[in-house]
Amino acid sequence: MSDTIVSLPDQSTARIPKMNYLSKENGLLSWLLTGDHKRIGILYLISITFFFFIGGALAGLIRLELLTPQSDLMATDTYNKVFTMHGVVMIFLFLVPSVPATLGNFFLPMMIGAKDLALPKVNLLSWYLYMIGGILVLVTMITGGVDTGWTFTTPLSTHYVNTNVLSTGLAVFIAGFSSIFTGLNFIVTIHKMRAPGMTWFRLPLFVWAHYAASILMVLGTPVLAIAIVLLALERTIGIGVFDPAKGGDPLLFQHLFWFYSHPAVYIMILPGMGVISEVISTFSRKRVFGYTAVAFSSVAIAVFGFFVWAHHMFIMGVSNYAVLVFSLLTMLVAVPSAIKIFNWTFTLYKGSITFETPMLYAFGFMGLFTIGGLTGVFLGTSGTDIHLTETYFIVAHFHFVMVGGMLMAFLSGIHFWWPKMTGRMYPEKISQLAAVVTFIGFNFTFFPQFILGTLGMPRRYASYPAEFQILNVFSTAGATILGVGYLLPVLYLTWSLKYGAIAGDNPWQATGLEWQTQSPPLTENFVEMPIMDHEAYDYEWLERKNLEKQKEVASVG
């Protein structure tokens, strides 16, 4: 009885299928002008990874500076630019597109039994907009950077800095359209292109999660766009809309900005939650516990997520009664996330669990997201927010949910679907090691920051009182370990492209439609249009199908 569910074809005879989406056409133009959602997903994967490491390098610089209480590694102005660019790159160029643009693009059509997304050209346009935005951010960095913080608070960003606010704003504006078009594409695809028999409640939870995130992308991002437009006008012409001297209100910018930026965090996390649903189900061999609850909770998070933005503004001078309302709504939005955690946990009950790398990352997600999410409640409670806001507690909170949560989910998904995307397995032992190293490094890096926060250390500080040094040193030490944990996958995944074991159609014996085709898939995904005649996560259906196949004389590849 083995400890793993991996079932690979006989390596001595197995080959990557000759005809697949990678081999279909060759040459740079076939990639740069592709309409194939899978190729676009790969393009995104490469570019996102690139920007992730830029953001990571910036993070490294931050942690190095914070080793000592004085602002001694770099000028304070430079430090301010470093943390601003770290935020901008990580949020807009990594987290927002990460799962949707890579795994979502690649697998959404396959999961619903379609040949492509509804609007392939718009999909490609999305990638180009993303690249333009990303390159513009790089240019901004090279030509002096921006130091307003990723939140562009007015009037600092409009009247009090001389750095590249406009170009960064433009870059974010353009990248925002990339996000809008991706979300739009997903919604149309899910509504209009499901295969026969694929009813809403037979959809994989990954699709539900992306549907909810897409609603947020489509409805929230335009408000950020207009906030940036007004910011640019205020900065260049001085229209006065945020300037108290002219009758404007700087808080208006805060409202417009957070109206997007709060749903943005759900845009970032929901697709990751979709990944976790798939992974936990596959590696427990069980349908996700409470499928309907998990599906509806994704939508609930999206809907409630629109009504809580002012919890980022509790001490900024909004009225006490507004604080009451937003705090209450924040409590409501926390509940669906809790529901999901418990549903995933109970998916394990009476399952048949194995601990391959995607599952390890999923477990890491569950623990760290629970901590991150609970600390969100600390902040959503108006009274305690007074003490904790604007300190390292906030920094720790969002890194727990974004890095401990979302990034782990992303890595889980990459490892889970790597065999499908490339036809190759990644090396299991070293990847499990990397997962554990990441988990340890993460906790060392970010847990001390909770304590720094309750002790009162403010965020965005280049220098700090000496008594905070020990915790900062811990945090930087952890960051080094974390860096190793993130570097390893890049190395071994690249290695696996040439030397990894041949994966075959369904190495995990998973139930999704994407696993019923070859690895890597054909450009048109399916030879025949699939007909969905079973529920999602139907492992009994899979077993019957396998038995049928065994009865026929079948050859793979």
Binding site: M1, S2, D3, T76, D77, N80, T148, G149, T153, P155, L156, Y160, A245, G247, P250, L251, K286, F289, G290, Y291, T292, F314, M316, G317, V323, S327, L328, M331, A334, V335, A338, I339, F342, N343, T345, F346, L348, Y349, K350, S352, I353, F355, I371, L374, V377, T381, S382, G383, T384, I386, H387, T389, E390, T391, T454, L455, G456, P458, P465, I470
Partner: protein
């Protein structure tokens, strides 16, 4: 203990005694906030433990080796209800408890003394009513409620005293307030916690809590001579406020004696209570704040007066408790150099009547 090097031992002792998870509790609200924080930590720990235990237990009991065949379970409405209602209930408890604390922190008691704070890149200026000015420091007495009325001269800043568990933004364009009552004399951190540009991390200082006697001593030593109200009086005259806001029966503006805290009917029909925010708005945007019965002729002083100037004027107005006092202002400041050119009608001294007769404000 022989095996542990003395250096490490020293480090450990120092670490253990200095290390705390929370800053010192130096205000009356701090223990209340800490109580809620502890509750939340406890609930989080229990929640986390439950989740981790369940995951660990299930992983062991139902690993493939031990449990090779999974049992398909659709769900359980009872369980869903349980883990929806219990977390929601706990979160609502936190919400109510936290809201109570929030309201407490931002509703100053009636007997609070008031200190003005102006934030600007990159320093905090504290203005005590008695005329004491501090930069990046704030001396307060223990055992007294202290309200801070804050504003920023430029960008958003945030006045944070971790040891008191209070924090509030200082924003440009309007006042924000927060209050606390310090309990233990000592020196505590003051931080600016809203990113405000280059020297954001240098915008730090000390909150010095003194015993009441030491505080009195400090007040006496630190005064610059003129109180805020006295400075306000000079400004009142030099800006010709008294040209309209005087004691004459045909004055073009309402008398400001006792106006602070009073209810005022505006020409728009609105009724307002005169507080700091109202006075500031009335000085900078007078046309929207005309008292009923008066013509909208007050000019705006926007651009002509600094935030400190407005604060001084407000302090002066706060202490104006009689028309006689206003008359005194005119009398006193008439002779000041800056009043030389201002041949305001009020300079002609009308008959000064006894204070009591003119003590009412036109409503």
């Amino acid at each position: 203990m022989d095996h542990i090097s003395p250096a490490i031992w020293q480090f450990l002792v120092k670490w253990m005694t200095n290390f705390a998870l929370f800053p010192p509790e130096a205000s009356t609200i701090a223990p209340q906030m800490d109580a809620l924080l502890f509750f939340m930590v406890l609930v989080s720990l229990i929640g986390l433990t439950i989740v981790v235990l369940l995951i660990t237990a299930f992983s062991i009991l139902y690993s493939k080796r031990r449990h090779p065949v999974a049992v398909q379970i659709e769900g359980s409405t009872l369980l869903e209800a349980t883990w929806t209602i219990i977390p929601l209930g706990l979160f609502l408890v936190m919400f109510v408890w936290g809201a109570l604390i929030y309201f407490r922190v931002f509703t100053p008691p009636a007997n609070a003394m008031n200190i003005y704070v102006v934030g600007k890149q990159w320093m905090w200026k504290a203005e005590h009513p008695g005329g004491q000015h501090e930069i990046n420091a704030l001396h307060v007495p223990a055992g007294r409620a202290v309200q801070l009325t804050m504003i920023s001269q430029d960008v958003f800043h945030s006045f944070s005293i971790p040891a008191f568990r209070v924090k509030r933004e200082a924003i440009p364009g309007r006042y924000t307030t927060v209050w606390f009552q310090a309990t233990t004399p000592g020196t505590y951190h003051l931080f600016c916690t809203q990113y405000c540009g280059t020297a954001h991390s240098a915008m730090v200082g000390d909150i010095v809590v003194l015993t009441p006697e030491d505080y009195r001593k400090w007040l006496a030593e630190s005064t610059s001579g003129a109180s805020l109200a006295q400075n306000g009086e000079r400004l009142f005259a030099s800006l010709s406020c008294a040209a309209c806001h005087n004691t004459r029966p045909d004055a073009r503006g309402p008398s400001l004696a006792n106006v602070y805290g009073a209810k005022l009917a505006l020409t728009s029909g609105q009724s307002v209570t005169v507080d700091d925010a109202y006075l500031r708005a009335a000085i900078l945007n007078p046309s929207e704040h005309i008292t009923q019965g008066y013509a909208p002729i007050m000019p705006t002083y926007q651009g002509q007066i600094s935030e400190e100037g407005i604060i001084a004027l407000i302090e002066y107005i706060k202490n104006l408790n009689s028309d006689y006092r206003i008359q005194q202002t005119t009398n006193t400041t008439d002779m000041l150099p800056e009043s030389a050119d201002k041949t305001a009608p009020a300079a002609q001294k009308p008959a000064v009547q006894a204070p009591a007769a003119q003590g009412t404000v036109k409503q």
